[in-house]
Amino acid sequence: MERFLFPRWTNAFVALLGVLLLGGILYAGTFFLGITSPVTLNIGYQPVQPIPFSHVIHAGKLKMDCRYCHVGVDQAAHATIPATSTCINCHSPASPSGPPVYSAVHDDSNKLVSAKLKPLHDSWRTGDSVPWVKIHRLPDYVYFSHVAHVQRGVSCVTCHDRIDKMEQVYQAKELSMTWCVDCHRNPEPHLRPVEFVTQLDWKPEGEDPADLGARLKAEKNIHPKTNCAVCHR
């Protein structure tokens, strides 16, 4: 009985198959490990904001505390973007009697300031919000709480990096689930005394950071959990 054999020319397919397989693996690898990785997708996201607000000036040079503007951060889940009135405290527009005395940066009408503050003053006049663009965005099914972290001594810098050095804020960390879980499994390096939470350049003095972390963890009874319900409800 004559056995069926593939013709010899089909041998080329074996090589082709190999190439396709390799290519597929390469493609899938690049796609899933590279392109869609939070490192690629998330880090460096820097949308254009309506006002080029500089954290370098406010948080860096002027050393304003984070909580002056982000009032919810130690009280609630949301850190909150400041209300227009918070900015107006310093950047008030001109009144009929001229620019106010305490105004740090004056209204554009007297040519003392660039038009960059126009959206702010428009908001103040019209009552509509300044259309800030959200940068650090978690999916809606993630329930992150700022207060839970800030009140336990996890600094802003842990997730947002050195905001005080960012002229324009961008996302510096992955904020992915693995990244969160890593810290929940090993919180010690990220703990500091609560009073230094908003001091972004703080370094432990006179104590080994590892010891400090362990001490704070024990003191504050911190044992972060990693079950699903911690963040997903």
């Binding site: 997708l41 998330n42 996201y45 949308p47 009032v71 919810g72 130690d74 009280q75 609630a76 889940a77 949301h78 909150t80 973007i81 400041p82 209300a83 227009t84 009135s85 918070t86 908001s123 103040w124 009552g127 509509d128 919000s129 300044v130 259309p131 800030w132 663009v133 959200k134 965005r137 999916p139 809606d140 099914y141 329930y143 709480s145 207060v147 839970a148 009140q151 336990r152 009874n221 044992h223 959990k225 079950n227 699903c228 319900a229 911690v230 997903h232 409800r233």
Partner: protein, 1069 residues
Amino acid sequence: MSSNGNQNRVRYFRSLAQLENTTEFEEHLHREFPVAASEFPEGVSRRRWMKLMGASLAFGGAAGCRYQVEQIAAFVVRPENHVAGVPNYFATNFEWAGRVMHLLATNMDGRPIKLDGNPQHPMYASSEQKDFHDGKDAKFASAGTDVFAQAAVLSLYDPDRLDRVIRKQEGRSVDSSWAAAESMLNELRTELLKDEGKGFAVLFDATRSPSLRRKLKELSATFPQATISELKSVAYPNQEKVLESVAGGGELVHQLDAAKIIVALDADLLGSDEHAVLYTRQFGMNRTPNSQMNRLYCVESQYSVTGGSADVRLALNSSKLPGFVSALEAAVDAQLGGASADIADSDYSDLSYEAKVARVVQVIARDLVANQGASLVAVGPHHSEEVQLAGLRLNAKLGNIGKSVKVFQKSDPLAGSSVGLAELAARISSGNVKRILVLGGNPVFCGPTEFRLSETLKSAEIIYLTDYEDETAAISSWVLPATHPLETWGDVLSATGVYGVCQPQIEPLLNGHSALEVLGVLIGRPVPAMQFVRETVTELSSGMFTDNQWKQLLHDGFVTMEASLAAVNIDASQKLEAEAGFGDLLKDRKAEVLLLPSPSVYDGRLANNAWLQELPQPVTKLTWDNALIVSPRTAKALDLKQGELARVNHDAVGVDLPVFIVPGVADGSAIAHIGYGRTAAGSVGNGVGHSVQALRRNPGSWLLTGAEIRGTTRPYKLSTTQDHFAIDELGLSEIAKRAPTLVREGTLESYQSDPKFAHVEMHHKIESLWKNPAVNIDYAWGMTIDLNKCTGCNACVIACQAENNIAVVGKEQVARGREMHWLRIDRYFHCDPDRSRRESGFADPVDVTIVHQPLMCVHCENAPCEQVCPVAATVHTEEGINAMAYNRCVGTRYCANNCPYKVRRFNYLNYNTKYGYHYGWQDYRESVNTKLQSLVLNPEVTVRGRGVMEKCTYCIQRVQNGKIKARAEGDGRVHDGDIKSACQEACPTQAIVFGDLNDRASRVSQLQADPRSYSMLEELNVKPRTKYLARIRNVPKELTMNYQRNTLSHGHGAHGDHDMEHATTSAAH
């Protein structure tokens, strides 16, 4: 284990279908998922479904593309003390579904998303639980609410609400504006002032608002000739007349916590009564068998919530109640005169019906006489004046008046200046009233037919203030949008005279104005509503009301004041003359029809509320329908069949209603709920159910005798959930032989002799195959549900729906068993097995009792669902909560299949599509107008999409936030009572208790240590965290039935089942 349980089995059944073991029930039992579960609705049903979706809720989570620009709209000026995402709580009070609600509104970022009872309100505080004297009472206070209050937020965000002024000219509707309406009202005033308001009338929806009544008084002073009339859709004129005659008018309020013996005679105190929430709280206070147990007798024709909670219930036709009351009065008189109760020694179970009635009369009389001053007799307000007077007389003779039965004085500024509906109708038809301002109430649909309001009103020009474009709007020349009570200033005066303020939680969403504002414009004194309310409260507090008092009022929600008690003068020498015949109504094929306000849609005004429509009604478990509820024997005698329409003829009026058979309803009585069959309710409520309004001839026509009922053979599909998610004992027959039944109950007597009756020793030591990971690191969350306190009122079901963003699925989907309620209340019937078998082969069960069992995920420590999930989407937390990670779920449904309690709910379809909840490229949510209905969503809970399993999470969002709060603001520990689940908070009797089992002193730990505590399906070794407390019936010895004595007392129900066809044989141990 006892062996005497074998002969007289406790038999619980969910429906007659189960009792007769029909194929339909078998299917429900065996199929893990109902028929064609993945079929998409097609054709008409599909369109209907889509429409429903348009009015329930939900919009989407913005899961999706990373670089989609999302804006943050910060405040321009941050409101004082407002922190984004932290709810504020405001006390408010309003009238809703004929009840005065005293509420605490949860206001999340400026929108009310949840309503609960105000625990500090004196009406509730007086009935505070005193079970736990550890100084923590106030913390545990949760006032409880009812279904209507829980569902009120959905109505606020209903996109079907009227959002514009409509003007009808020459038969055409034109959109108009408030400015035009205002100038119309101003012109009207000028015109009316000419001849003192002649030819003008105001018809207003019944109200307890002192401000509105004061405003109407002002109107009558401005236009003395105007006619003012009140429309009360659920009115009991007979009760009013009796109170008028004995106390010069007033409010009758019972004090159930002051009564050891409560006799409800056709009075649904815990169900449809106006004060049901208060009564339920008071009732629950004395339902602890260890300390105090009241005794509730219920004699009624329907099977009400009260009947289900009763210790002794007697089914009696409403038309025979006069005879019963007369006999009771005679017996009480005799016993007060020194005679001893005439109670024979024979066994209650074997008595004939007439003998049972006589026995019950004697026993009630004995109990009443033994508890003078601490008992109460309540007669249904729909009964005749004589019968109600007899009820009050009994209370007077027993010294209950002023103690457990109170009549509060009532002062009405409108007294004398308003006329009845009849007079108004007459004035319209005679042409004396040409223009009429209707303030809500939908008189065309709700008004009694006697006055033919739908006809007579047409001859007048109607200005109608309404929240929907309803039946009355269709014949009005001006239709003005009204505000929801959460959008407006107002006030209420409770029946006991406590003043409560209604403060707006949000600006009017749909351009509405309140009746106060409209009347203000009309009479030319357009005072802002807040100012007017403040004037009212100042007037009520005799002219002095400081700013501080006002602030305190806004904080507390009420002013501590109480009406004084009215003097009740009753001639004790009178007697109720009534024929004491208890014969069979069905002999001449005549029946009585009892009309009742609906437990879901009230008088029809809530018809467009999808949560309420889909709520399984307390006893029938019907959704999206009303029905003619009859007993099996009535059905047989009148040739009625379940699932077919019946024709009810009474006094030349006929209505069609689908038949629903409920065992335990009095033979010859048929019960129908009003408020269905709306034609202009909105997209949800249109065409739901059948209208019985035609039978509502006059305000007092609730009980119609001599009705002719016959079956038509036209089929009609009802969606009832009574057989859904039946827990399959059958499949576990081997275990069932040893295991007790799911619900356990006993008599007080048996409990006292054997407190641990509900506890069952396992025959074999139960061991797990593997060791569970260590849990309970900080807390061990657990729950207890006291079946003795649960009345099955359903408040928890809607509370859960509101808290957890649970989707509404529509009638067709419910029929397929796809309802999404995380919390269901299983209602089990129970009957005298011997007699039922002997007399009718269980076709017509005898002495039917009810047990309600709320059931949601019990959070097994050894959870079967977790063990089969291929993607670990359902896993345990360290604190013992069985959590769901929706985003992991791929929809295999293995978990639901493996859940012995059947508490998991699957999103067969994307129930949230119409609200913009889509996936991937379909995610066009911004283009869909989702704004209004989506506001009702709780932002703390994920909205689930198609293909995802969901279930009770023990309100994980409350647990997590509670822990975070304790760390941030407290001492780092969550203390008992800090975290309450939504169902617990809504429960008026505090039957549901949630807490930390690691804390030995916590309430839930103490309750789980109670001898009545048991786990459901304990033998499966799943170790549920939710435990139940067995129900105890405080049945007097003389009325204890055989089966109660023999079997209930031992609770070991599920020995071999000799009665059922699917019996197992072995029972000997």
